[in-house]
Symmetry: C2
């Protein structure tokens, strides 16, 4: 008799046939006596279709209005799923973000959830009604429609699970779990039975597209039990997927490296010859942040004679904008001898919670890349990952050699 939040992405609800499948899966759980909150995305292709219409009208559409348009995608799905559930004898009730009330800030197209009102959902759940909620959207304090940005439906699901103190949050997708890397690049890639939040966080941010990063942060923060499953199997025949666990819960032997993550659409920018003084990084990144551009890796070496080079990576779509903003600010907010960049790079990372207690991971990684003559342009490390920036043309090769170097095709425990 658990309370389960299930989330179905765009491909899982991509047609009325697929929506019927989702309804059958929900019914399967409901018949076991579970109480269900189902979060859905827009039907696949719908968000792109809507955004394309907006782009036909304006090169830079008003973001408030863009959210008004985009939010309809999920609204269609909630109504259709509720209809499908009622058609097979369940009681169901749909909620837009505003109807739940998922309160967000007013950062249109990338809003953050501030608060979720559970009152209405609780009433329905107590009455045995399946609650169907539009992912990806909310309202700000003034009642304006907001969206959480691409992939935000995962975040909606986790936030709802946290608010309702759900027993489990199940993310249904077109894969049956989290893999050691993308199986399209490495056929031997293996499904992980479990992965820690910290690893998942690194995997998500580095391009394992299974879960949206903010949803993993949220889940970790509120200790939501998160499971990734496939919606393309029959409900009765579903595998266990991948459970995302907390490091501290973990007492079984942990693999050193869990997976190889990567990110294609990156660009790097280097400010050459900036003064090596306190506040310089803040001045540079402040300029980028003011242009509303997210920065990923940041690298700064110790400089010689009071000067240093400062590099960072951004999403490729924001490369031109970032470069422009920095060139405009050069000589004012900071002084750089030159500002250069490259938008044909990719990032590859090895991720693993076990890395912390093992030496030699970095050298094994760099050695594997060197053996294939892949030049490393930037390096950045955290407690549980090592990332390198390379020429994007070597991306697939790098992922394959690293997967082999860390013997990820073997199950945990088998690795030397």
């Amino acid at each position: 008799m658990a309370l389960i939040v299930q989330k179905y992405g765009g491909t899982s609800v991509g047609s009325t046939e697929r929506i019927k499948n989702v309804a059958r899966r929900v019914a399967h759980f409901a018949k076991q006596g579970h109480r269900l909150v189902v979060v859905v995305s827009a039907m696949s292709g719908e968000t792109n279709r809507l955004l394309a219409l907006a782009k036909e009208l304006s090169a830079s559409p008003n973001p408030r209005e863009l959210d008004v348009v985009a939010a309809t995608g999920e609204q269609v799905t909630i109504g259709l799923l509720a209809i499908a559930l009622e058609a097979i004898g369940l009681r169901a009730r749909s909620y837009t973000g505003g109807q739940v009330r998922v309160l967000t800030d007013d950062a249109y197209t990338k809003a953050r959830i501030l608060e979720i009102d559970q009152a209405a959902m609780r009433r329905d759940l107590d009455a045995g009604t399946v609650v169907v909620v539009a992912g990806f959207q909310g309202v700000d304090a003034a009642g304006n429609i907001t969206t959480l940005g691409r992939g935000g439906s995962d975040t909606s699901a986790v936030a709802l699970a946290a608010a309702l103190a759900a027993d489990e949050c199940q993310i249904y997708t077109d894969v049956d779990g989290v893999y050691t890397t993308d199986p399209r690049i490495v056929p031997e890639a293996r499904r992980l039975d479990r992965v820690t939040f910290e690893e998942m966080l690194e995997m998500a941010s580095l391009g394992s597209k299974v879960l949206q990063i903010r949803s993993v942060e949220f889940a970790g923060k509120y200790k939501v039990k998160l499971r990734v499953l496939s919606s393309f199997e029959e409900p009765e025949a579903s595998g266990p997927g991948t459970l995302i666990t907390y490091e501290e819960d973990e007492d079984m032997e942990q693999a050193i490296i869990s997976g190889i993550a990567f990110q294609r659409d990156e660009a790097k920018i280097t400010l050459m010859g900036v003064e090596d003084r306190p506040g310089i990084a803040a001045a540079i990144l402040g300029t980028v942040a003011a242009a509303n551009i997210d920065v990923d890796m940041i690298v700064q070496n110790i400089g010689a004679s009071g000067m240093t080079d400062f590099s960072f990576t951004v999403n490729r779509n924001e490369y031109a904008k970032a470069l422009e903003a920095l060139k405009a600010a050069n000589g004012k907010a900071f002084v750089a001898r030159d500002i250069v960049g490259d938008n044909r790079i990719a990032k590859v990372s090895v991720v693993g919670i076990g890395m912390k207690s093992h030496v030699g991971i970095a050298s094994r990684m760099f050695r594997a890349l060197a053996d294939e003559n892949i030049n490393i342009q930037m390096i950045s490390t955290s407690e549980i990952k090592i990332s390198v920036v390379i020429d994007e043309k070597y991306l697939e090769l790098a992922v394959r050699v690293l997967h082999r170097a860390f013997e990820l095709e073997k199950a945990a425990g088998e690795v030397a």
Copy 2:
């Protein structure tokens, strides 16, 4: 410096190119200093697409959820139009029905407007912002999304014009005004410069699809100045359309007959041999009303020997349901010897405010039909219209001969 409510239907916003045209027309009025509230429908085809999805999931979709799905059509248009307006330098802000707050009852798929909150719109209008409102929708007191039923965007526009005490409510459509009849049937059909509310009411209910009936009732009740115009002409070259006036305002010479209206999708039901006693009509119609079916014409003749026949017409789509409900109630709510029907009928009406003070209209009408051997099955009259039910195969012929019989191809004043 007028306050104008403009309404654009589905074909007027049927593509991004058409939405740009609407934006240019709005800009044309805004530049003259007018304050504008623009009400829009879903892009043409969109509502049907959405309802078809719902029908794929259930033969009788849950009406609350149907409204959740259907309401997205207009929501897309408001966002897109606001984007288009901002793109050409106007300030614009979109409102869903719930955001305005258009409060309705909770009769999903055919809700009625109870109250409109003008506060937010006023603020925007005072700030020089164009207000873009989703037609066809509202929210009930509990915050559920409702729709006003097909064509309800006209009603939204008139209700907003009434609430805001707008100087004029302009309904843009794919025709340039109200015609004496459908030009596809009678090529000589003529645009009317003005038509009274009463006539328009009869025309709308009888099938002149220019304006939705409830919007005309609303406009009459709240004395909203209503004008029908074409959105397919250049703003600068627009004709005057057709102004809908109040009878009492009218001092110019009035044509006896303004137009020939017709309704194709009708069915008639006759209860034979029912007792001719007080309360019998209420018992029969109560049964139909309880099945949520609207009745159009109602005819009852004086009966012989205490028995009478009772006939009425319904929309063809509801024919089977009405027949079933009546047969189930026969012998309980009332007693009828037999219940028969015909779903291949049509209704043709002559409409004219001038009819009141002229005799001989009915005989001219019946004579014209008799000359073509068209049998009249039912007759119903009001102060300003005469309607007949005929076999649907004679519909076009009947409309043509009546248009000719009343010389509607000639302008008012020319008629003998």
